[in-house]
């Protein structure tokens, strides 16, 4: 047991312990009992959550549309191992946030403000809020699109989404909120039976992973755009802010680092399988030479797939798109709440009651209403917004990643959990890679005929 605690607790008055402390202490008691009795599987079960949620949260509406477009445009080939690589990249980035969380017990936004000052803090927050509001809009586009497949009017699907987000916040208990979202996130696996309905060729998938081939067509503008969209579908700034804050809210300590890493790796593996399943499920559109460039949403993919993979497969696909939007709406709105409350030094925890966490819960609810309202504007350019959001997320990732690297190399706060040279090499490569990808996008946007179609 931590000797500092034994010294610190008697010094505090009863009224200095909050509901947040008491609920977190209950969770820690269970963790310590499992560790003492060496029940390792239960320990992983208790400590898993932030990593799985962040990875499946990023398998969101626009991401699944990107993977479906990839499958419909290129079939099973180069992009299957490429998607696996992007999830390795996501693991490298998110593992750093776990270390930051367990070493400092502080959220990402408050660490940036405290260590680097307001100037850089407001820039980081500006990037996050901008990206999060736009992404949240696209999640409601996905929910609405999935609902359209089942004949639901847009307002009903959006109202359903908003209600679920608010109900999840009403749980006022981090552990319950996390388990509820994990149950919902399991529906991301619906893309696997949808892929099986497409009768995939296992040998072709294995060959693609081993050889990175075939790559149909030429390396033109469409190819570069899909490369960027797939990168933007796996690493974004909100993931950094969310996982670090969730690790802190859950109460993970240095002793739990291994389980935190396992949680993140499991999340990355499940999300990669679901992403590849989406590529495979959409690949019959490639074989049937269907032009997906005029598709407006995930619902169009489900409708087009119906004659190719059957009603069951198409229905699973549409349900998966709704789930992708719902889970991301919940995690992204919470990420905004954590960051905003940390910036304003307000209380920030899903263990707070409404009276103590007014700003925290209010930020999530208001951002949800704004995003839902934008989706319902008649004639809003929803498809263009969906595609643009992934690109913006990729561009904003470079400065966010730089701040993450600075913090995780800060030995004053990290101690022996600071980055090794290998982690810095991997992180630096990701920053350079993202900058080059963004620059390539800029060039092909300004000079669209440079690489051909």
């Amino acid at each position: 047991m931590d000797n500092e605690v034994l010294a610190a607790i008697p010094g505090l008055a009863d009224d200095e312990f909050t509901r947040e402390d008491i609920l977190r202490a209950r969770d820690r008691l269970k963790v310590q009992q499992s560790r003492t009795s060496k029940r390792w599987l239960r320990l992983i079960w208790l400590l898993a959550g932030p990593g799985i949620l962040v990875m499946l949260g990023e398998n969101d509406g626009p991401s699944m549309v990107s993977y479906a477009t990839t499958g419909a445009t290129y079939g099973v080939g180069f992009f299957v191992p490429f998607i696996l690589l992007t999830f390795v990249m996501a693991y490298i980035v998110q593992e750093m946030t776990v270390r930051l969380g367990v070493a400092t017990h502080r959220g990402h936004a408050e660490l940036i403000f405290q260590r680097f000052g307001r100037f850089w803090g407001y820039f980081a927050m500006g990037d996050l809020v901008f990206g999060n509001v736009l992404t949240l809009v696209t999640e409601f586009i996905a929910i609405q699109a999935g609902g359209l497949y089942f004949g639901l009017p847009a307002w009903a699907s959006v109202a359903f989404g908003v209600t679920l987000v608010i109900l999840s916040l009403g749980l006022r208990r981090y552990a319950t909120w996390e388990r509820a979202l994990l149950c919902l996130a399991a529906c991301n696996l619906l893309f696997i039976p949808a892929a099986l309905c497409a009768h995939p060729n296992g040998a072709a998938i294995a060959r693609a992973i081993a050889t990175w081939r075939p790559l149909h067509g030429t390396i033109g503008t469409a190819f570069i755009t899909l490369v960027l969209a797939n990168i933007g579908a796996t690493v974004t700034p909100w993931m950094i802010f969310f996982q670090q804050s969730a690790v802190v809210d859950k109460g993970l300590t240095r002793a739990d680092l291994t389980q935190g890493r396992i949680d993140t790796a499991i999340g990355a593996a499940i999300a990669a399988i679901a992403a590849i399943a989406t590529v495979v499920a959409a690949s019959p559109l490639f074989r049937a030479h269907v032009d997906v460039s005029q598709f407006a949403s995930g619902a169009d993919f489900a409708t087009a797939l119906k004659p190719l993979i059957g009603t069951t497969g198409a229905t699973l696909f549409a349900l998966g798109i709704i789930e992708a939007g719902l889970i991301a709406a919940m995690t992204i709105s919470t990420s905004s709440s954590y960051a905003l409350a940390e910036t304003l030094s307000a209380k920030h925890s899903l263990n707070l009651d409404f009276a103590a966490g007014g700003l925290f819960y209010g930020a999530a609810i208001i951002s949800t209403f704004i995003a839902a309202g934008i989706v319902l504007i008649p004639g809003a350019p929803l498809l263009a917004m969906t595609l643009t959001v992934n690109v913006i997320a990729t561009l904003l990732m470079a400065p966010a990643m730089m701040l993450l690297l600075l913090l995780v190399n800060d030995r004053e706060i990290m101690g022996n959990l600071a980055n090794t040279w290998r982690a810095n090499l991997a992180g630096g490569t990701i920053v350079v890679g993202i900058c080059l990808a963004g620059a390539t996008y800029g060039v092909i946007t300004v000079f669209p005929n440079l690489l051909g179609k």
């Binding site: 605690v5 010294a7 660490l111 561009l395 904003l396 900058c435 996008y441």
Partner: protein
């Protein structure tokens, strides 16, 4: 529901995990010139990139209208 603090239970938290401990900020760190330069360059990269994204967005809208 009001929860009553139980000292035995609260001993399972590390001292820095207590919500009262989190109110004490970490001291400010001084950034080196090189670090500042890289951060400013990345900021410029974002500022220069966003108009290109906005152009692409408006271009896609114009194509849809046509």
């Amino acid at each position: 529901m009001k929860l009553t603090p139980d000292p035995d239970l609260l001993r399972h938290l590390e001292s820095t995990q207590l919500s009262s401990a989190k109110l004490r900020p970490y001291p400010r760190r001084t950034l080196g010139r090189g670090t500042k330069a890289v951060m400013i360059l990345l900021r410029l990269y974002v500022i220069l990139s966003l108009p290109i994204v906005a152009y692409a967005f408006l271009h896609a809208l114009a194509l849809n209208h046509n």
